[in-house]
């Protein structure tokens, strides 16, 4: 079997707060293959962006341990000079907030041109402009010739996100990281942008890491899903497996907190509490245990590990075997929540 496109091994990303380092991403291992969408879900503060930024080398003061193998080469802690050869070319990123991700003082066309120029300075300017107009068409921006000379503030949020996508795909990247690409947009635009990302992925045969906390987006887009909690992966599975047979208490809580219209909604569970702040993350034992106090303490592992419970389906900590929602009876707890 060939190497996966991206293989993250035991990644640990720590930030310095005061005198000490605190890990926002803790022992994460993941793979992404060509033409595959890996979704990363988790609440705010679970370390999704910290993970993405580590891959892109965008942290300026973080300590990064472990390996990030991109096409077999370790790019963790790569010197900027080498990193800049692949960033924007083979590896690119779409950011969350299209309103702030573009330089307000530069015409849209020039901002796209920059990424072409940086990686392909031999291409004459006229050719680049031609290609940029094509790109703008490709991301379905009307009147591309006109938009080329516009400034970001003259475009709507959806249009700006399309420009950012155009920048990201300009050099036909092999891996595209999209960090909540639609969170800042309204619902109809969201769907269009997601369609666009999917199409582009198919065209380019790229791998995609899609970060989101919207499970609807996951269901629609992802091939595989990794669920993150407090800096760790708690469950990884194919998308169908994850939705049909979620195992980790956190995954189950996330899924059951989606209101289902046709349901009576009596299964709507709300997980209380929030992801603790970086300094206060529990570093020992099962990190989710504090948010399910009704579960016996001794069902957790001392050092929770990822267990492969079926091929390609990993769950952290043994507590999943004993989890039930407080509204349910301990006796009739069942694992296979079937989503009717």
């Amino acid at each position: 079997m060939s190497n996966p496109l991206l293989e993250i091994k035991n990644l640990k990303t720590s930030f310095r707060i005061g005198e000490e380092y605190y890990a926002a991403v803790d022992d994460v291992s993941l793979t992404v293959n060509e033409n595959e969408v890996l979704a990363i879900v988790g609440e705010s503060g679970s370390g999704k962006s910290a993970l993405a930024f580590s891959v892109m080398g965008l942290h300026n003061r973080a300590k990064i341990e472990g390996e990030i193998l991109f096409k077999g080469n370790d790019i963790a802690n790569l010197p900027p000079k080498k990193l800049n050869k692949i960033r924007g070319k083979e590896l690119s990123m779409i950011f969350q907030d299209p309103l702030t991700a573009l330089n307000p003082l530069m015409e849209v066309g020039r901002q796209i041109d920059e990424v072409l120029f940086l990686h392909n300075s031999k291409l004459p300017k006229a050719k680049r402009k031609e290609y940029i107009v094509e790109l703008l068409e490709r991301v379905e921006i009307p009147r591309p010739e006109h938009v080329y000379n516009q400034f970001p503030h003259e475009l709507s949020g959806g249009m700006r996100q399309r420009v950012i996508i155009a920048i990201a795909i300009a050099n036909q990247p092999e891996l595209l990281i999209a960090d909540e690409p639609t969170t800042a947009l309204d619902v109809t635009i969201q769907a269009q942008i997601l369609d666009l990302i999917r199409e582009l992925k198919n065209d380019l045969n790229s791998g995609v890491i899609l970060i989101t906390h919207d499970l609807g987006v996951v269901a629609e887009m992802a091939d595989r899903v990794a669920v993150m909690y407090a800096g760790q992966i708690v469950e990884v599975a194919d998308v169908d497996m994850l939705f049909n047979n979620p195992q980790h208490p956190y995954t189950r809580s996330l899924l059951s907190s989606i209101p289902l219209l046709e349901d009576e909604q009596d299964r709507l569970h709300v997980i209380h509490g929030i992801v603790p702040s970086l300094k206060n993350l529990p570093r020992e034992g099962c990190r989710f245990s504090a948010r399910m106090p009704w579960i016996d303490d001794d069902v957790h592992e001392e050092h929770p590990e990822l267990h492969e419970i079926s091929p390609g389906h990993f769950v952290r900590c043994t507590c999943y075997k004993h989890f039930y929602f407080p509204e349910e009876n301990k006796e009739d707890q069942s694992h296979d929540i079937t989503q009717s």
Binding site: M56, P80, G88, F95, A101, N103, L105, M106, Q111, L118
Partner: protein
Amino acid sequence: MWKFTVRRLLISAPQILLLSIIIFWLAKQMPGDALTGLIDPNISAERKEEMREQLGLNNPWYIQYKDWLAGAVQGDFGESFRYKMDVSELVWQRIVNTFWLSLVSVFFIYAIGLPLGIISGRYNDKLIDQLITGYTYIGFATPIFIFGLVSLWVFGFMLGWFPTGGSVEPGLEPGTLEYILSKLQHLLLPSLAIALIGTVGTVQYLRSEIIDTKQKDFILTARAKGAPERRVYNKHIFRNSILPIAAFFGYEIVNLINGTIFIEQIFAYPGMGNLFIESILQRDFSVVTALVLITGVGAIVGALLSDIILSIVDPRIRIK
């Protein structure tokens, strides 16, 4: 952009009008009037009344204001009773001197402030930034007249590197190279004194703008494109940080007026500020009034200039 400029001009006009009314009113409150300096104090009361009538001093205030304004617009501010010459002529010589002093000061303010601010913002929290920030604190804490006095004493009197007064060596032919060099030599020390103190605001402002811009999302976009650090700074961070500084340029004029008043006095430099203080002390009010009006208009025009510059460099304003 034209729309914006015209609108901005329309706002400035009433500002200037209001300013002129206030100054006229203040001038009226000052002891004595245009007559006091002109006539023999022993003249008879009837003759005096006649002359008041002739000069329009018995007219209602708005007529007087109108006459005064009409004169001011044409550059007629009356006569200085101390110098016995037209105020406009007297002021003009001084304005030219102050203009040169200000111009050279502005040059130094930016020549010193921009590099220091950029270095300090780029390497914030490094030793070099701490040194520069230290300098700005000292600059803020040091009154300009004390700094001016000390530098005059050290570089003018002790070391003798610079002349200690005047604006040019007497006896040189205007227009010759020697004349110009002598002017520059007289300007150097006072303008450096103004700039070294006056630039600290620019340094700190630019520093904090750069630190702020560094963390903006579009800088991440630039890095994610694979732009090398130098390009990220030159193309993205600096341009966005210098914008507010460009906008401040006009307000710098106001700053300079304050600076020059003290510095001209200390360096016995025959400029507006120097004339202003002399005239107050000598109660030469027609000169004071003219200077206040000119300074006020200068401040308003400075603000206007700031806004227009900003509208040129910032597309977000340029379009609207």
